[in-house]
């Protein structure tokens, strides 16, 4: 009996201490990890979407809380006005979460473009969503509406052949981003004015 109690106590203490240490390390590295992701993952996607902007969209960002989640928004200035805003949206793909950076033109109410940031899709099939422009190029210029779908589901986006689930997930992420955009548009407009000076 004594041994039994010792086993339970040792395991519990060990697990709690490990949990505590991990929480501390997680907190300690969180901001550094965010900076690295901005530089290596989101950075290229944002620069790609905001090509030709007068400012540095990665520097000019603000945070808003949507629902329970805090999101980062990136502002692009074109023709002297901060007219474009981009943020990341997620959906479940074939091999895990897919992150899609979606940029909106606030003046024309149209999508400026979309770019895949993170994914764990099959190399050569689903991974082409990030590596080849065929899929994401179809999003630029679409009006902000109820959502986008692949042609197989009665929508307007041609899926990557052999990667329907991935294509669906990308559409899903873009649709979610559209929903979020419509939901918090006034807040975005308010924040974005601050970058107009």
């Amino acid at each position: 009996m004594n041994e039994m109690i010792k086993m339970v106590v040792v395991l519990t203490v060990l697990a709690s201490v490990a949990g505590g240490v991990l929480a501390a390390v997680n907190q300690g590295t969180a901001s550094q990890i965010e900076a690295q992701q901005l530089q290596f993952v989101k950075g290229p996607a944002i620069n790609n979407l905001m090509a030709g902007s007068a400012n540095n969209p990665i520097e000019d960002r603000f945070k808003l809380t949507v629902g329970d989640v805090e999101r980062s928004f990136f502002v692009g200035k074109f023709d002297g006005k901060p007219s474009t805003v981009a943020f990341e949206s997620f959906a479940k793909g074939f091999g895990g979460d897919i992150g899609v950076m979606v940029a909106f033109n606030m003046e024309t109410e149209k999508l400026k473009g979309a770019a895949v940031t993170i994914h764990s899709e099959t190399p050569g099939l689903g991974a082409n969503a990030k590596e080849k422009p065929d899929l994401v190029a179809q999003f630029s210029g679409l009006p902000v509406s109820e959502g986008v779908k692949v042609t197989k589901d009665g929508g307007q986006i041609n899926a990557i052949s052999g990667a329907t689930i991935t294509s669906r997930a990308v559409c899903d992420a873009v649709s979610k981003a559209m929903g979020t955009y419509q939901q918090i548009k006034p807040e975005i407009q308010q924040e974005i004015q601050k970058f107009g000076k």
Binding site: E3, K6, M7, V10, L11, L14, A15, A18, V21, L22, V25, N26, T29, Q32, I33, Q36, Q37, Q39, F40, V41
Partner: protein, 204 residues
Amino acid sequence: MAKTIVQEFTKGLWQELPPFRLVLGLCPTLGVTTSMENGLGMGIATTFVLVGANLLISMLRSIIPAKVRIACFIIIIAAFVTIVELLMQAYTYPLYLKLGVFIPLIVVNCIVLGRAEAFAYKNNISRSMADGLGIGIGFTLSLGALGAVRELLGYGSITVWGDFSYNLLTNFPSFQPFTFMVQAPGAFIALGLMLCFINVVGSK
């Protein structure tokens, strides 16, 4: 026949060199050695986990009950692996992206659990540290060597770290890289040749 601390350390460098002499830890050995940088990065991450886990397990060996020791080892090892994963994300993000799933897989690396069970649980702290460090450095050098061979043949270059690299094509423009060596079958062939070489040298 008790070994000295120095012997505990050096055995990991040759006698018990993990991938080549014991043929342990083959999953990362085959999986990540597409370049020297990847191999070294993976080796260093594993070394950190090995030394940390050996240290803690050796410290706690008198209070860990024998019946739940494996569970305790796994908790300790998993904690160290998660720390490594977070640190790599924070400071060497490109390398973290390249190594991908192999970093969390250190948890199930048989070398780490093997050293914990076979050595750290039975020996004092300084010997366990020496053992972990020796095995870890041996593992790092093995992965680095295998990575260097594969990268040299497959891409014609050797990348030690970041921009510190050498490209064969600058001196021998006629060299044709055979990409085969950096793909999965090339890993087996390179490992086989390496084992052959190590056995020939070792048998003398």
